[in-house]
């Protein structure tokens, strides 16, 4: 790596600034539905939206699957969460700085079955990711596990 010429460096700052503005605009997205089968809905601000492949997810979204439903999501930190039938999964809190990998991810399985592969947030700081059920808190040190909970 060689020191960049100062004028070029100035131009790069503009590019960097533009990139961070794009990042800020995209900050509301915490993940995306990559797999959906059967009945899947996403509750956001009190509204139930159909959960379709490609849908972008936001912090505080609640995913619900029907008796024939299942859903798989990829989070911005590469965490993979997938829920089986009759499940309720809340993305309670998701914060992620892609430059430092620091963040916070709290998910809650209210009901049903869930498979988890943790991502960059848990890798960076093992205390930074939890999955809760109505009766338990799971501290995620990495990487793959499954959890089920009944009403």
């Amino acid at each position: 790596m060689k020191p960049l010429h100062s004028r070029r460096f100035g131009r790069h700052w503009v590019v960097a600034l533009a990139a961070s503005l794009v990042a800020a605009a995209a900050l509301a997205e915490v993940g995306q539905i990559k797999v959906a089968k059967g009945q899947v809905s996403v509750e956001r601000n009190g509204q139930a939206l159909p959960g379709q492949v490609g849908m972008l997810l936001e912090s505080a979204d609640v995913l619900r699957t029907g008796a024939d439903g299942s859903v798989g999501i990829t989070m911005r930190d590469n965490s993979l969460l997938s829920a089986g039938p009759n499940s309720i999964l809340s993305l309670e809190r998701f914060e992620f700085d892609p430059t430092t990998s620091q963040g916070r991810f709290d998910a809650r399985l209210q009901r049903g079955t869930l498979s988890v592969v943790s991502g960059r947030i848990a890798k960076q700081a093992p205390e930074a990711m939890t999955v809760r059920t109505p009766s338990a808190v799971l501290g995620v040190r990495g990487t793959e596990f499954v959890v089920s909970t009944h009403d």
Binding site: M1, K2, P3, L4, F9, H12, W13, V15, A16, A19, V22, A23, A26, Q32, I33, K34, V35, A36, K37, V53, G54, S70, V71, G72, I73, T74, N78, L80, S82, A83, G84, P85, S87, P98, T99, T100, S101, T113, L114, S115, V117, T133, P134, S135, A136, V137, L138, G139, V140, R141, G142, T143, E144, F145, V146, V147, S148, T149, H150
Partner: protein, 198 residues
């Protein structure tokens, strides 16, 4: 067996049944592909059970987590649908930069072909381009440089037809070297760009 022993055995069995009487769910640690640093700590109230081995498991009960050993078969029975819905893991590619140059080598062009093959496998692909530097210079300098390297790769992907909104760039600066070095050390293997197809 004396009647006292029978009594004790019956009580122990009753206690065990009571603990299992109200199963509220379960947790099973799965084998990790890397086979290291994998664990889940299950907490209910003041009771904790760490799961650290493949298929180590806990029943969640009103009496706290009850450790047990699960199996691949049990996991498949209970979690088949959830596991079948798991998204494809991100596919990773790495391009190395010739010092002071932005153009791709022949090798790198082949890697880009691999990126497009992965994109074709996925119904809603998105691509993350992550630039890295070696440990020469400050964080501010390297953050900007790593983002610039990522932009170069992003532009190459855009030139080959990926939609603009499908590619994001990240500059990790010098935080994640492949080859650990002291500050200020120039190391070609750390000057790289990772492409993740998700």
């Amino acid at each position: 067996m004396t009647s006292l022993l029978r009594h004790v055995a019956a009580l122990a069995l009753a206690a065990l049944l009571a603990a299992c009487a109200a199963p509220q769910g379960s947790v099973v640690l799965l084998p990790d592909k890397d086979g290291k640093n994998t664990a889940v700590v299950v907490t209910q109230g003041t009771q904790q059970v760490p799961l650290t081995q493949p298929y180590a498991a806990a029943h969640l009960t009103s009496g706290g987590p009850q450790a047990y050993q699960s199996s691949a078969q049990e996991v498949q029975t209970t979690y088949a649908a959830a596991l079948a819905a798991r998204p494809l893991p991100p596919a990773q590619f790495t391009l190395y930069f010739v010092e002071g140059k932005d153009e791709f080598t022949e090798e790198s062009k082949k890697i880009i072909d691999g990126v497009f093959a992965e994109i074709a496998k996925r119904p809603v692909p998105d691509v993350v381009v992550i630039g890295h530097t070696d440990k020469v210079g400050t964080d501010v300098f390297n953050d900007a440089l790593s983002r610039q390297r990522a932009e170069v790769v992003r532009n190459a992907l855009l030139a080959r037809g990926i939609a603009v909104d499908k590619v994001v760039t990240i500059g990790r600066g010098k935080r994640e070297p492949v080859v650990p070095t002291a500050e200020g050390v120039a190391e070609a293997r750390n000057r790289r760009v990772e492409i993740q197809v998700r």
